[in-house]
Symmetry: C2
Subunit: 383 residues, 2 copies
């Protein structure tokens, strides 16, 4: 169900032939209203893909009536010709649906630096419009997959309204070409400002804290569309919580399907002076290849964690730091603590806790280990 | 020869038994003067190893008469007991040589979070003092190796004076436990301020621009000792150039021996608005696992380069960027340029050129590819 669970939405997923594999590669999600409120967050990469450049303009007004997504090509670094392809896609969807091109968000994912085949895309979009259905969420979720091994969907039901979502990729800062694309729908009746605040609050503590391999995609997009079809206007806190729940659920699914990963790692930084400090420390650890290879080798190597903490500007004293793997405090006060032998890293889920002893704030960053399979997938993908 | 080529220096390298392999693991370099001028740069990691905490104090006065180095243990995150081991090492060297402990720099490398065996270290130091020789440079260079596959040495001769150096590790920001330790000697007669300026100028454009895997060691030390034994006081520019030459030579040897690497990559960033911009862009590319795995796969993936450039704050326009692999401009103006098929990445040496079209400044950052062997070595090292 996912994006078509909330009332007022139709979706579809079809095979346009953009993917060499012959799997579905064009998805469409349409908001039939009565409201067309929308909000979005995009990659902060300064070298943005053409669909991002276009979609930023669409959503600037706080409204969108449809989103067309394709896998099989990122349409990134493809110049004016690529931008025209994005624009033509929006125009075609608009013409078929009787709306304006400026109402249509466009998302693309796949190889970068190559033009999308306009003819195939056109055929795919026509087919996607023709097969729109209020049970099309599953098909749409499958059509946006690239290196994903499974589709990602989530729903939350509230009193008379609901939130649904689909995602592909492996993190806001994603492996390989696994650009993260997320579409979240709701039939709650909210205004554009509320939608924007709720989406930013949700992504800040979910997708923004997923740092699978430290590489920021050029195409990342998280779109929230609100149909208002339930007629219910929830309390903003309740609405934000529901959107955050769906985003968290999807983020954890992305983490669990990251390219080549064998461990899902939660890095909890506690007793930080500020939340920013906690995030900075967590991110520094998540970006250490030495830490990530150690977890792959099931080695509770706390020294590599302290070495990462030491590169940050967070408030802490080196001789006060405690570090735990799965609850075993292998480092106490910057020295060896409990025995490393007590740590079991055989399960996929690993929790690292870093106690900065500098305040009361905390944050969790999620990442994966660095494995042979990661190297293989990312050295072989485009060749 | 290396560190013992300049007059006024003796060195040795012995086996103390700190390494399980039974290979040499304690090195000593002594400056017999007449001058004891010294300068050093240390890791900027805030979680520093005990020998770094000690040696910073030694060199603060611009003087040092000896440096004792051990492999087989980093003496890092070992608390007060570890600091006492460092201090005891300096005191023992000082007592045997008839100098002060505060004249003795200490460097350690190896596993972190474990105490060094004091008895073995003591025996090793006594043996190292007993075997000091003015031809001991080679032995010293071998005794500081950890995961290095070969010793690194360099010399430069000038008119009546010379510079020699030895190094171990794989970069200022080094793989695994490959802390970078460098000792540079000269018989030029220079004052402490000149030595400090020359060393900082040299490391800024050599070791500081080596970014093999983005992980900063806790023990990195580059030490310059000046005996004045030649009686020659060179022009400062000439002296700085010679020290820079030796540092560059050693840095390239470190790059060529980085753990598991199959490619040595020079990232040349040209036409930047500032040198800082060029360094920021080069470093961002050097830290992209996607770029590094692509080079391993011999894939001239310029899209991953632009995605890295886009994460920086450097001055540039995305649609103006040019990128070349080994001289083939595969990206022109942010779009596909010459055919990727023209690029040959079979040689170990790879040059990536990024033209920012934003000014006249430039910088080169050196890095390695990310390989299966890197993952293997760093997931298996301590287990």
């Amino acid at each position: 169900m996912s994006v078509t669970m909330p009332r007022g939405f139709r979706a579809s997923g079809v095979t346009a032939g953009l993917k060499a594999s012959g799997k579905p590669d064009v998805a469409l999600v349409v908001n039939d209203g009565p409201s067309d409120v929308a909000a979005a967050v995009f990659t902060t990469n300064r070298c943005k893909a053409n669909p991002v450049l276009w979609s930023e303009q669409v959503v600037a007004g706080g409204r969108a009536k449809a989103v067309v997504l394709n896998s099989g090509g990122a349409n990134c670094y493809t110049g004016p010709q690529g931008f025209q392809t994005t624009h033509a896609s929006a125009e075609l969807v608009a013409a078929k649906l009787g709306i304006g091109a400026i109402d249509v968000v466009v998302c693309s994912t796949g190889l970068i630096g190559e033009q999308l085949e306009r003819g195939k895309l056109t055929t795919g979009i026509e087919q996607a419009v023709a097969t729109l259905s209020d049970t099309g969420g599953q098909d749409a979720a499958e059509a946006i997959m690239t290196t994903d091994t499974r589709s990602k969907q989530a729903v939350r039901e509230a009193s008379g309204w609901s939130v649904g979502g689909m995602a592909k990729g492996a993190g806001m800062l994603a492996p390989a070409l696994a650009t993260m694309l997320v579409v979240v729908t709701t039939d709650a009746a909210v205004d554009a400002a509320t939608a924007d605040r709720a989406l930013r609050a949700a992504t800040r503590v979910t997708f923004d804290r997923l740092d699978s391999d430290g590489c920021m995609s050029t195409n990342d997009t998280v779109l929230l569309m609100c149909s208002g079809a339930s007629g219910v206007t929830p309390d903003e806190a309740e609405f934000t919580a529901a959107v955050t729940d769906v985003c968290h659920d999807l983020a954890q699914q992305l983490l669990g399907d990251a390219e080549g990963a064998e461990h899902d790692i939660a890095i909890e930084v506690v007793n930080a002076a500020t939340e920013d400090d906690a995030v900075e420390v967590g991110r520094a650890i998540a970006r250490s290849n030495l830490f990530k290879t150690a977890v792959y080798g099931k080695d509770p190597n706390w020294g590599r964690i302290l070495a990462s903490v030491g590169t940050t500007s967070a408030a802490f004293e080196p001789t006060a730091l405690d570090v735990a793997f799965n609850g075993v405090w292998v480092c106490r006060g910057g020295e060896p603590g409990e025995s490393r032998e007590l740590v079991d890293l055989n399960d996929r889920a690993v929790t690292v806790t870093v106690d900065l002893k500098a305040g009361d704030e905390k944050a969790t960053i999620w990442t994966n280990d660095l494995t042979h399979a990661y190297v293989h997938e990312n050295s072989a993908y485009s060749t």
